[in-house]
């Protein structure tokens, strides 16, 4: 008859306390370097109201377009020093209008809770349409000056910049919802660009087709 062993093997639990201490020390270190908000950058050219540009003036006789988008409480106002925008856009001037007006429009917006709310806001759809048509007529032009009313909040200028910098895949949008979705999903038209690398070699890279990608701020008038 087999003898029953007197001793019972007891599996000891792993001592996790040193690892736990190490992990708890790591957490504050990582937490310090953690950025929960993703920060992006928007490049803006030297403003027109700043010190004189060091760039030499072109000898070309051709007058630059000098396109300006002014933001006011009523909406957008498009002006150009080098062209008649009414002619370019095929519009009839409204009396003695100083530029093409794009009035604010009622549209459906998403609230922070995700509910649909109707608000009167800037007509970004019309702005994109007009700016892409002006670009078609002046393909070489890149510079656009943004001017805001003195008490206009900065966030509206950033929203406007999101619309004016690149050409979207779709030539026209029927609603703000469509334009907003295209911008959020980066549905920009792509083009091939030749870039010279640090080694001096020229490479062809795919890039977004610019619309008015050189944005600058103008003086309040």
């Amino acid at each position: 008859m087999a003898r029953k062993s007197k001793y019972v093997e007891v599996a000891e639990e792993l001592n996790l306390i040193p690892i736990m201490n190490l992990v708890l020390c790591l957490i504050p270190c990582v937490l310090f370097k953690t950025q929960l908000v993703k920060i992006g950058m928007i490049n803006v050219s030297a403003p027109s109201f700043g010190p004189a540009s060091s760039k030499p003036k072109d000898d070309k006789e051709e007058k630059p377009l000098g396109l300006t988008v002014a933001l006011s409480k009523e909406g957008f106002l498009l002006k150009a020093t080098g062209a008649n925008l009414f002619e370019v856009l095929g519009l009839t001037p409204d009396g003695e209008a100083s530029g093409v007006k794009i009035a604010k429009k009622k549209d459906t917006f998403l609230s922070k809770d995700g509910d649909a709310v109707e608000l009167v806001d800037y007509d970004f759809v019309a702005l994109y349409d007009y700016l892409s048509r002006i670009k078609d007529a002046y393909k070489e032009e890149k510079l656009l000056t943004l001017v805001g009313e003195p008490d206009l909040e900065f966030k509206y200028l950033i929203r406007t910049m999101d619309v004016v910098r690149f050409r979207f895949e779709s030539p026209k949008f029927s609603s703000l919802k469509e334009l907003s979705a295209a911008a959020a999903q980066f549905k920009y038209k792509k083009t091939k660009e030749e870039v010279t690398g640090e080694d001096g070699k020229t490479k062809t890279v795919e890039a977004y087709e610019p619309l008015w990608d050189q944005v600058t701020f103008g003086a309040v008038q």
């Binding site: 920060i39 403003p47 700043g50 966030k155 703000l176 907003s180």
Partner: protein
């Protein structure tokens, strides 16, 4: 008889002591904390933090006075530059407070003047220090400035800030924004 009674008492006492010791031992075993579940939670937190670990040269912590506007830009900060922060209550250069902002106005500056003298002095100091440092390392001074602006700040103040930065030898401006957000979203 007395001896028997004494013996019995002694045995009872010994039995009581033994049972008390056993109880003490059992209680000690049950009282140990099981840290396995805590370890799991901490590991999950650590992984989450590591996923969001940022190596960006610029760090912005938004708060109630500094709510950055949202944008769908894809550009990120690649290099460390001089930062100029315009929050709802103050202007800072490289995180050092320079001037107080009160109701979208800088107190000591006349409404029609674009230059903010206190800011100019601070920016000039920063430029001179950076130039001196760069001269020692043989690097060229980069005239790039990153402007971090609270979304509700009025254009008038932004214009003054940009103008002052412009006359302090900065020619390239970068605006910090929060990535994401949609045009069709209430701002």
């Amino acid at each position: 008889m007395d001896q028997k009674q004494q013996m019995q008492e002694w045995l009872d006492e010994q039995a009581k002591l033994k049972s008390r010791e056993r109880l003490k031992k059992e209680l000690a075993d049950e009282g140990s904390v099981n840290i396995n579940s805590l370890m799991d939670a901490v590991t999950i937190i650590l992984i989450f933090l590591l996923m969001n670990f940022s190596t960006d040269p610029m760090k912005v912590t938004p708060h109630s006075k500094l709510q950055l506007p949202t944008s769908n830009t894809q550009l990120i900060a690649r290099e460390k530059t001089v930062t100029l922060t315009v929050s709802a209550d103050q202007i800072l250069v490289n995180d050092a407070p320079v001037i107080t902002v009160n109701n979208n106005e800088v107190d000591s500056v006349e409404a029609d003047k674009l230059e903010i003298p206190q800011l100019k002095v601070h920016l000039d100091e920063v430029v001179n220090k950076t130039k001196a440092l760069n001269a020692q390392t043989g690097q060229a001074f980069k005239d790039v400035i990153t402007i971090i602006v609270h979304g509700d700040i009025h254009y008038r103040l932004i214009q003054k800030v940009i103008f002052t930065a412009g006359i302090s030898s900065f020619t390239k401006f970068k605006f910090a924004v929060v990535k994401g957000g949609q045009l069709a979203q209430v701002q």
